[in-house]
Assembly symmetry: C2
Homo-oligomer: 639 residues x 2
């Protein structure tokens, strides 16, 4: 008997039509606990309701009701791009419903969609800030209006829903299609030759094309990508690089300008390049990724050093104390890297994703999921004042996590990332399955030739470096394991259900274990979790002669609450490696005895060092959880 | 015969009613050439006409004509504070007319005043951006409207005119008084308890009170000073510290927030404190000055590290590559320091003024006085594109000097400072005259007891360290000479017209030479001009393990045009001091051989150093004069 194997489309963001690796969606990968499972639970239990409540109380969701009632602009609240937060919230709900099949959330989802749908004009236009009587006309301010940006997020929400609940009758996909059709008419080859000041529409259209099979959307996405760099947007104080309208995507050497815009555009450009078999464009994006990571990325994976324009600085311009490192830029960087990973299969992309997940995405939300960092500084020089949990912060660069912001892009961006995180854990190709992120999980998929691959991942990573993969299916396939670049002495050990174990040391990169698996066969990856000192490239002037401490994928931080004093004068002893004790990492810190002498620039600096004491560090993603504190990742070294 | 000695009010900005030192104005001190005399000439020949032309062509001066014609808001151009540029231009013209008695400039001055006066409402209100039919109402946006700020500059212009042409019939003083009277009615004890979002009115009113003798203006200035820190202005993303409305002036520990606002407020607060005999307030300002200089000031004297809010950062937050160091903040710092110097007589204030004059004020304008730096970075990482001399730059942080800016506060601020610079050279007290800045000059004044003190200053400073003071009058008086804090081995030599010379070494601070002078007696100060390496306080993380090179009061810079390559990889050899040869300063620079390795954070950094070569430096104020270049002041040291 021959069985026709039909592989259902995975429940995953970004499903390219080709590439080295095939994404595995929520039905194939299920995170079952651990570091990320806990965060998914907090996201589901607290964060989604927190966001939904804020969207109501801030008036951003009621704006759609005003549009439907025809009473706009009276009573409209929020910034010009506030519609997009509702769409990201919808996307987060869609992934969460896909993940847990929560009926209450599904009800919420449908209710929100109904309100959004009611606000759509008959020709497909949908925006609560433009185009109604008494408002500025549609598309009248492409630099700052964010209309296409908002629609891009609408499309991502509709795609998430269609991938998790194909053919659902909630009406979101028709809303998205009507809007996309309008965009194609307005901005198509015969329409305005223009782009949006905030990239996102490219990504949304490309994904919508994948879900609907409608090639027009992909063609429109390609048009938008190709139009960047033609200077159709107005020159501004920060230059046209702010919105990536200075140089074409094809010619750019590096990501530049607004870090979220840059990453969103890059991710959308990968989608377009992949579907168009445009290798020149892919090469350009690969080049940009490499230089951006080599020269414009913080040790946390964070990107964007400018507060002013939320932008990348020049190469090597990475001040820790003025790190903006917007949470959304981290999310965008993951979207870009993930798409490159699917296309190229190179584990360095997954390395950056891991780093960014642990040190940007996990850093933003508080332990209870109801407060967030918008910016993620690497050095907090003054302890912030306690935050009112009921307030809305006007400050993106707050020193403590805030419940909500005047510009609140980050909370729903974290929420949609966590809710879809199962889809970033593993991929498949013709030979087997590749594990990119280590988290307790249950994985089952079918290879193109019909072989079923099923296994569990058991791990307490990153608390512990052991990852145990236990086969649930029988047969030959290849297990790909990413050995992170920092893992200089990793081991792989095979423990068959029956027979002798074997082990070998492995180098950073991807390790393939090809094997005829029996149920119960275990493959164990042991990653070295000794904390380590890390030094910056000498061209990163801002952290010269300083070291960071890392442990596995986690960057650690020194907080004043542990030091018992301000971190300004701390000097770390690097003569022996950081120690691990009582579940914490300790370093020896001496306090410099500094005194102001009126003018801080002198012919000599000769300041005594007090005796050092052992001080525990925290994971950077945990900092700021114990009240106001100063903090630093890079510590001057006494060498 | 007894003569009644009447000392005319000096032609000087800031004439306090009391203090250790009495300012000497343009009639008493005349700069006769040298570094600053040349710049005053360029200012007179080129800059003033350049500014006047731009005020016309940008529409900022014609805005007054529109107001007079009653046709506003139609046709109004420029930002909400553009009126103030006309007022600073008027102030610069007034000082220049006082300095050179130029009849053409006087005609220009009167013509501009006539246009301004015609725009004033009958009740004294004067602003082209508010209060006319079709515009926002008066005082409706105190946070951002800048109405009081503009008036403060109007008052400074009127004060400059009254001090240089007392009783002139041009009509400016009546315009100012009418506006000040309105301000006192609107914002007086019984009026709105409010402040302006940009300090300046305090200073303007205090000075106007001094010129007119009208105590109401001083009382109103005091009210504005005392109202800071009460949170009457709206909270914003950058916090109320942006406009110094977070903490009262009396309680603040340090300058914070917007660096121009902070310095203008501090200067106005000194005026108020001095006239009110408010020693508590003076103590607070002294404390703020000290901590700001010790912890929040660049080696150039520049202040303000944030581009986003043009603001001070936290203590020690002084990134050289993201130095904003706005030219206007330098001007404001000089106004603050000068007032403290007059009150306290402490030469450290004059030290900072010298540093800021040479490295901020002199840096901003190009050699021809027709282009300007708005921000003054200490590290230019990418060479800027050539600037169109006819264009208006939207960018404050341009990499090359630009002819004009959308916000063009800096050019007229430099112009008024240079035109009034004679008044910052020397002061007098009951015993004699103190020289604060070294420049060729002719000085004549009368002490309170009637003694006439007259002498010339001959010097090629800072090219040469010798300053020669030659008496033109006879009699006993005390010559005060400032020995800058960097001058560790200065000498003073007395060469009498007749008799033996004597000399002694002197320490930094003020040196007093008390003597019965005969005409022709010379006092020679020899300052050590050997270039020197300077090291930062270890708490300034951003320049750790780097050195700057200074020579006299000038900070030097390494430019790529001299290095023959980018400055990113430069390492300086500090084993022997910088050399002076052929009129330039040379250091030995090695280029680090750096290669990108994908991820810039590693367990070790071990990069070879190429052989060093001798490279000449330029004075920082000269950088960027030879086309696009990268540049750095702080150079990593090989020690």
């Amino acid at each position: 008997m021959t069985m026709q194997i039909t592989t259902p489309a995975p429940q995953a963001p970004a499903i390219p039509g080709r590439g080295r690796l095939r994404p595995l969606g929520q039905h194939e990968v299920r995170i079952t606990g651990g570091f990320w499972g806990e965060r998914q639970d907090v996201n589901a239990r607290n964060t989604l309701a927190h966001i939904g409540g804020r969207l109501e109380s801030e008036g951003w969701l009621p704006n759609f009701d005003l549009a439907a009632a025809g009473t706009l602009p009276t009573g409209r609240r929020g910034r010009e791009f506030s519609d997009s937060e509702t769409y990201k919230y919808l996307e987060a709900l869609a992934w969460e419903i896909g993940r847990t099949d929560d009926a209450e959330l599904d009800k919420t989802f449908r209710a929100v969609v109904a309100r959004v749908a009611a606000a759509q004009d008959s020709d497909g236009y949908l925006n609560t800030n433009f185009g109604h009587p008494g408002q500025e006309p549609r598309w009248s301010n492409l630099e700052w209006g964010h209309e296409l940006y908002c629609l891009g997020h609408l499309f991502q929400a509709a795609v998430a829903r269609e991938r998790t609940r194909p053919g659902a009758d909630d009406g979101l996909l028709p809303v998205a299609r009507a809007a996309a059709d309008l965009v194609c008419r307005e901005f198509g080859p015969d329409g305005r030759s223009a782009i949006c000041g905030h990239a996102e529409i490219e990504l949304g259209l490309a994904e919508l094309s994948r879900v609907t099979g409608d090639e027009r959307y992909l063609a429109q996405a390609r048009l938008f990508v190709e139009r960047h760099g033609r200077g159709t947007l107005r020159d501004i104080e920060w230059g046209r690089e702010y919105y990536q309208d200075d140089v074409s995507v094809r010619e750019a050497e590096v990501l530049r300008g607004h870090a979220v815009r840059a990453n969103y555009l890059a991710a959308g450009s990968v989608d377009v390049a992949v579907e168009s078999h445009d290798d020149e464009l892919l090469n350009a994006l690969r080049r940009q990724w490499s230089r951006t990571v080599a020269r414009r990325t913080y040790i946390t994976g964070g990107q964007g050093s400018h507060h002013q324009d939320e932008a990348f600085g020049f190469d090597w311009e990475l001040p820790p104390d003025r790190a903006y490192s917007e949470t959304c830029a981290g999310v965008g960087s993951i979207m870009f890297s993930w798409r490159m990973l699917l296309n190229d299969g190179d584990p360095r992309y997954a390395d950056l994703i891991e780093r960014t997940l642990y040190n940007v995405v996990a850093t933003s939300p508080s332990a209870d999921g109801r407060a967030f960092f918008y910016a993620n500084t690497l050095h907090q020089r003054e302890a912030g004042a306690p935050v009112d949990p009921s307030a809305t912060s006007p400050r993106a660069g707050s020193a403590l996590r805030a419940p909500w912001f005047d510009v609140s892009c980050c909370p729903p961006n974290v929420a949609r990332t966590l809710a879809s995180l199962d889809a970033y854990v593993a991929t498949a190709d013709d030979t087997g399955v590749q594990l990119h992120q280590y988290v307790p999980a249950s994985i089952t998929t079918t290879l193109p030739d019909g072989r079923v691959v099923a296994f569990d991942v058991e791990t307490d990573y990153p608390r512990d470096g052991r990852v145990r993969v236990v086969a649930r299916s029988e047969g030959e396939w290849t297990l790909g394991l990413r050995v992170p670049s920092w893992a200089s002495s990793a081991m792989v050990r095979i423990e068959p259900a029956a027979g002798d174990a074997e082990e070998r040391t492995v180098s950073p990169g991807q390790v393939d274990v090809k094997r005829v698996f029996a149920a119960g066969d275990a493959v164990i990856l042991d990653l070295p979790m000794q904390p380590r000192f890390t030094r910056p490239d000498t061209r990163i002037d801002a952290v010269r002669s300083s070291v960071a401490v890392e442990r596995g994928p986690e960057v650690l931080a020194l907080e004043s609450v542990d030091l018992g004093g301000d971190v300004s004068d701390a000097v770390v002893d690097v003569s022996s490696p950081p120690a691990e004790r009582d579940g914490r990492v300790w370093v020896r810190i001496a306090q410099r005895v500094s005194t102001d002498t009126g003018w801080p620039y002198r012919s000599t600096t000769d300041e005594p060092l007090a005796d050092g004491v052992e001080v525990p560090l925290v994971a950077y993603h945990e900092w700021g959880e114990r009240g106001p504190s100063t903090m630093r990742i890079w510590i001057p070294s006494a060498e």
